[in-house]
Symmetry: D3
C-alpha cells in the first residue's frame, strides 16, 4: 500500500478524496489536508504565493505522519519546489506531471486553463520544465475557477478550445488546465473523436497520483542535491515542525 | 490486473521476466517476446534499425493477444515510434520514459551509456523529447553490452562516471544508459551518498513498467493524431498481422 | 567524373535516372538500385523503417562497386544515418540537404510534404539538424505519394500551400517535400513571382546530387567519429556484404 | 525627484539606505521597509517563499504612500512577480535587472552567488528572462549570506571565482550574486584588470535603483496585461491594504 | 552632469536635440553629430552598412571630445558593435536597449517597424540578444521612414498593428520600431487603454538616453574583453582619430 | 561553365586565383576583385565593417560583368548580407557555407579561428544560422592573420586546437576559421587520423566555390523576398553602379 497525501491549496476545504476513490483499487491509500491561510481559489501568481507557505507546512506534516508522497492539487504547482526542499518524500505538482506525460503521448500539447491571465504562467512552466518546444498553445476557457461547477457551458467551451488547439495549433495531446475540470477528460476525448480527432485528454489528478505511486514503488524521490534542505536560520512569523531526517 | 508486454529487441532470447517479477505485487501481469531477425545487442543506430522491424511486429502481435501496453527493452527505443503507428495500445521506450522522469526529479540529468559512440544518440533523444536544456552530460562507461555481466569492474566504472557527472557537470539525477545495468541503481545511489551526493539513479526498466501501468489505469494512450496508422499499401518482404481496430 | 549512386527506397522500381540525366553535363556519372523488401511508397515512419534496412544494404553494395557517394531518394532520409555507419563514402538524404540549403538562401523556409501526418516528421528533422529556428511552417498538400502523377490539381494545391507559407508564415524559401514533386520547382517559382513573391523553390534531388559531387570533389565525407562502423556481432535474418575498409 | 522605495526582504532590519545615499545626487529620494514575517537571510527557494508575502504587502503600502517604484533587495527577486500583480508602480528585482544589463554590456555573463545550491535558481532565472544563451556560468562563492561581513577571505574568493568565470567559461561580464557583496564591484574590476581582463562587474543595487528611476522618468511601468490585478476573492490569514487604482 | 552624445546615422542632418530637451532636467547634457557619408534614411541592411563607418568615426570623436556615452539614433543599431570596439565609453543602440527593457516590463513584446522587409532584421536582433523567446511578433507599419511625418494615417496604422500584436500575438509590451515614431508612445498607450489593454509602448530614444546615464552613473561600460580595440594595421580610404586610451 | 567571382575583402591584393585553380576542371571559370578601401586583414568586427561597403560594390560590378555567383573570401562573411540585397546572383560567405556543411557531416563542429577575440563572432554566426546546437566550441589559434604564413608553428597549433576540440569538446567536424589556413585541411585530417580520430576538416574556400556552382547549376539563388533591393534614396559619399534587373 502506497500512502499518498493530497494537499488542497485553497481555504475552501474542498474534499478531493472522492476524486481519487477509484484509484484505491491499485493498492493506494490516501490522506488529505487543507491550507489554513491563503486564497479561496488560485487564479494568479499572487494567489499561488499566498497558498504556498501553508502547502509546504502541510507537506512537512504529511511526511511526519508517514505519507510516502505528497501532491499539491493545483495545476500551477504552488509551493511544490519549496516543499521539495523541506521534505524528503516526493512532492508532485499536477501541472508538471501532466506536461511531461503529454510530451510522451504525442508531439505537441496544449493546455486549457481557466483564465487568459494564466497563459504566461503555463508558458513559463513549459520553459522551466524544458518542454517549450512541445507546447502548441495555451487556450484559456475564460471561466473563473469558482464558477466551473455552476456554469452549464463549461463543456462546450472546453470542446471549442480543444478543437482550436487541435485544428489550428496542431496539438495532439490536451491538458485540462484546472483541477476543477477533473472528470471531463474521457467525455472530451469522445467529443473530439466524433469530430475525427484521436487525441488524449489529460486529467492531471489521477495521472499524478499514479505517478507518485510509481516513484514510491520504484524507490525514487527528488534529488536532495537538487532540492537541499533550507539552511537552519531564524524565521519570524512561521512555525514549522521539526525536520524528519 | 494490467497486462504489460515486454519486447526484448535482440536475438539472444535474454529472459527479462525475472527483472520485473517484483512488480507483480502491484497488480501487473507480464508477457514477453523476442525478435527473430536482428542483432545480438544494440550498440549503434545500425543495430537499432535492424532490430526495429521485428519490434513493431511483436507489438502488433502483443496487441492482438490482449496486452494493454508494450515496452521495448532498450534505452535507444528502437521501433517505438513506428510501433505506436502500428498499434493502439501504449508503446513505451525506457530511454524516453527515464529522461522525462529524470527531468521531474531534479534540475539536470546525465546518462551513462555503454559506449562513447552512443553520446550523439542520447543527445539527439534529449533534443527530440524537448529536454536538451535538462541534459547535463552523457558519460559513457566504455563497456560493450555483452561484456557487462562478466566485467567485474562495471560498478566501479559506473561510480566513476556518476561522480564526474555530479561533480563536474552538475547533474543531480542519473540514468543508467543500458538495460544491462539494471539492478545497480540503489547500490550506485548508496555509493554516491557515502560521497556526499543525494542523487536518484534511474533504472529505466521498472520505472517504464510502472509508467505503462499508469497509462493503462488512467485510460491514456498515444494520440493517433500523432501516430496515425500507416496508410494501406503493398509491402514486400514483410508480413504483418491484420490490424486490430 | 564523380560517380553518384541513387537508392530508390521503394519496391516500385521507379526509374530515377531520367531525373538526373541533365546533371551528367557537370561531369557526373550515375548508378541506381532499388530496395527488394519494403513499402511501395513512403508516407509514415513505419514505411521509412521498413525501407531502411535494404537502403543500408544498397549503400554497402554501392560502395563496394566503386560509387563515390550515395543518395537516398526520399525526403524522410530513411536509412541515411545507419548507412553512414555502414560505409565510408558520403551518404546524403535530400531532406537534410534541402533544409540546410534553404537556411542559406533566406531567413525562414517552409516544407510542403504530401500528407498532414508528415508534419511532425519534418519538424523533428528541423530540430535534429538544428534548424528549428529557420522553419517557418510545414504546409502539407494532402495528396498521397502514389496519386501525385495522376492528380491534375497537384500544381494548384502546391501553389496554394506555397502562398500560404509565404504570405501567412513569412517563409522566403520553399522545399518540395516529396521527390514525387520533382520538376515542379521552376514553375512554382514563376507562379509565385506573378503574385509578387521572389522565393526560391527547392527540388531536393538535383540539389542533393550536386552537393554529393561537391563533397566528393572537395575530399569531404562523413566523420567516422560521428558515424563509426557498427561493432562486429551476430545478426540474424540479415546478410551484409563484407565491409570495405 | 523620483521616489524609490527599497524593500529589505529579511527580518534582520538591515539598513540599506546608506548604500543608496550616493545616488541621491541624481534627483532620487528613498524610503525603506522591512518584512515582519520571513527569514533572516535568503539562501533557498524556501526562504524566498517565506519572504515573499510580506514583500508584496510592503510594495502595496509603498504605492499607497506615494512611492513611484519599488525594489526588492535580493538577487532572487522574491515576491517581485506577485507584487507586480498587486500594484501599478514598477517593481524591480536586482537579479533580473542585472542579467539584462549584463547581456547589454558583453557577450556572456557569469553570476557569483553565495552558495552552490543557488546555481539552479540562477539558471532558471536566466531561462525565465530568455537569457540562457548569454549565461556563461554560475560560480558560487560558498559563503553563507550572514558570514559575508565577518569573512576576511570573501574578496579573495570572489576574485578566484571571477577569474574562473572569465578564463574558463569565457564570461565577459560578471554579476555579484548577493546584495551582501554590494560595494565590491569596482575593487573586483581593478583586480581583474591587473590580471589582464577588462570586464565590468555589476553591483545590482545601484544599477536597479537607476533603472527604476529610468522607468519612472520615461513614464514606463509593467504591463497590467502581463501582471493583472488578482481577482477579488476571500483570503484567510492575510490582510492587504485597499488597492489604489 | 552626464554628457550623452547623440549620433544621427543619416545624411539628413535631422536635429534630434529637441527630442531629448525634456531629459535635461535629470542632470544630462547633450551633444550631437551627423554622418557625412551614408544614406538619407535607414531601411535596409545595405543602408545600415553605409551609415556605420561614419557612426564609428563620430563615436571616436565624441569620446575624444569628452562625451561619457554615445547613442546611435536608429533601431537597427548600425555601427554600434564596431563603435564599442573603437572606444571605451558605452555605446548604446536604441533597438537593443528597448528589447531588454521590453523583456523586463512584460512577458512578450512586439516590434512595429516601418517596413515589412525589416521583419527578419528584428527577428535576428532578438536572437542575437538572446530574447527570441520573448518576441511575440514583428508587425510592420508599411510606411517608409521619410513619409512618416507627412502621412496623416501613421497613428491609425500604428494602432491597428498594436492591436493585432496584443490581441492576436499576445504581446504585452510594444516597441516603436523607428526613431521617426518618437513621441507617439503615450498616445498609443492611451488608445490601447480605451480598448481594454494596459500595455506599455516603448519610445526607445528617451529610454536609451536614460539607460546611458545609468551606465555612466553606476560606473559601468562595455567589456573590452567583449569588444577589444581593433588590432593596429593598415586601413586604406578611412581615417580615424588617434585612439584615446 | 559556371562563372564564379571571388572578392578579396582586404587591401593587400592577395591573389586567390591559384587557390581555386584546381577547381577549374569541374567546369568553373573564375574572376577576382579586391577592395580599394578597407583593412589589410580582417580580425575584428571593425575590420569587417570597413571592408564591407567595397565588398558590396565589387559584388554589384561582378554581377554587371556577368558573374553567376560571388564569394567573399573571409570566414566572417563581411558584406555578404548587404550584397545579397544589392544583387540578384547568389553571394556566399565561406563561414556560413562551412557551418552548414559541417552540420551535415557530423553531429558537432568546432571552429579554429585566428584570434580569441573572434570567439563571440563565430558563436553569433552559429546562432544566426540556427546552428548553435551543433557548435561544439570555438578554439582560437592565437595567430594573427598576417603572421600565418611566416609562423612555422601554425600547423602544430592547429593540431593542438583540433585535438582539444575533438577530445574535450566532442567535435566530430572541424572548420578552419581563416581563409589563410587554406590548404592545411588534408594534412590536419591525416595527423588526427594518426591519433585515432576520423574527423573531416573543412577548408571553406573550395567548398564554397563548389556550393556556389551547385546553386548556379540547380537554378537557385537567394530569395529577393529575404534580401530585397534597397529602396531608392540619396546616398552621400558612395557611388554604386546602376542596378541590373
Amino acid at each position: 500500500m502506497a500512502h499518498i497525501h493530497l494537499i488542497v491549496p485553497t481555504v475552501t476545504e474542498f474534499n478531493s478524496l472522492p476524486l481519487v476513490e477509484p484509484l484505491k483499487q491499485f493498492g493506494l491509500t490516501f490522506s488529505q489536508s487543507f491550507i489554513t491561510n491563503g486564497p479561496a481559489s488560485i487564479e494568479s501568481e499572487f494567489d499561488e504565493l499566498l497558498a504556498a507557505p501553508d502547502v509546504v507546512l502541510r507537506a512537512m506534516e504529511a511526511e511526519a505522519n508517514g505519507a510516502e508522497a505528497a501532491i499539491v492539487l493545483c495545476m500551477g504547482n504552488p509551493g511544490v519546489a519549496q516543499a521539495r526542499e523541506a521534505v524528503k518524500i516526493p512532492v508532485l505538482g499536477p501541472g508538471e506531471t501532466a506536461m511531461h506525460h503529454a510530451a510522451m503521448l504525442g508531439h505537441k500539447f496544449s493546455v486549457i486553463p481557466t483564465l487568459a491571465r494564466r497563459r504566461p504562467t503555463y508558458e513559463h512552466h513549459a520553459r522551466h520544465y524544458g518542454l517549450e518546444s512541445r507546447l502548441a498553445s495555451v487556450r484559456p476557457a475564460n471561466v473563473p475557477v469558482l464558477e466551473i461547477e455552476q456554469n452549464p457551458k463549461v463543456f462546450d467551451v472546453l470542446l471549442e478550445r480543444a478543437r482550436a488547439a487541435v485544428e489550428q495549433d496542431h496539438a495532439d495531446v490536451l491538458i485540462l488546465g484546472c483541477i476543477g475540470f477533473s472528470g471531463l477528460d474521457r467525455r472530451l476525448e469522445g467529443a473530439l473523436r466524433e469530430r475525427g480527432h484521436d487525441v488524449p485528454v489529460i486529467d492531471a489528478l489521477p495521472l499524478t497520483v499514479l505517478t507518485a505511486a510509481t516513484l514510491v514503488r520504484s524507490g525514487l524521490r527528488h534529488a536532495k542535491n537538487a532540492y537541499p534542505y533550507p539552511p537552519e536560520k531564524i524565521y519570524k512569523g512561521y512555525e514549522f515542525p521539526k525536520r524528519k531526517e
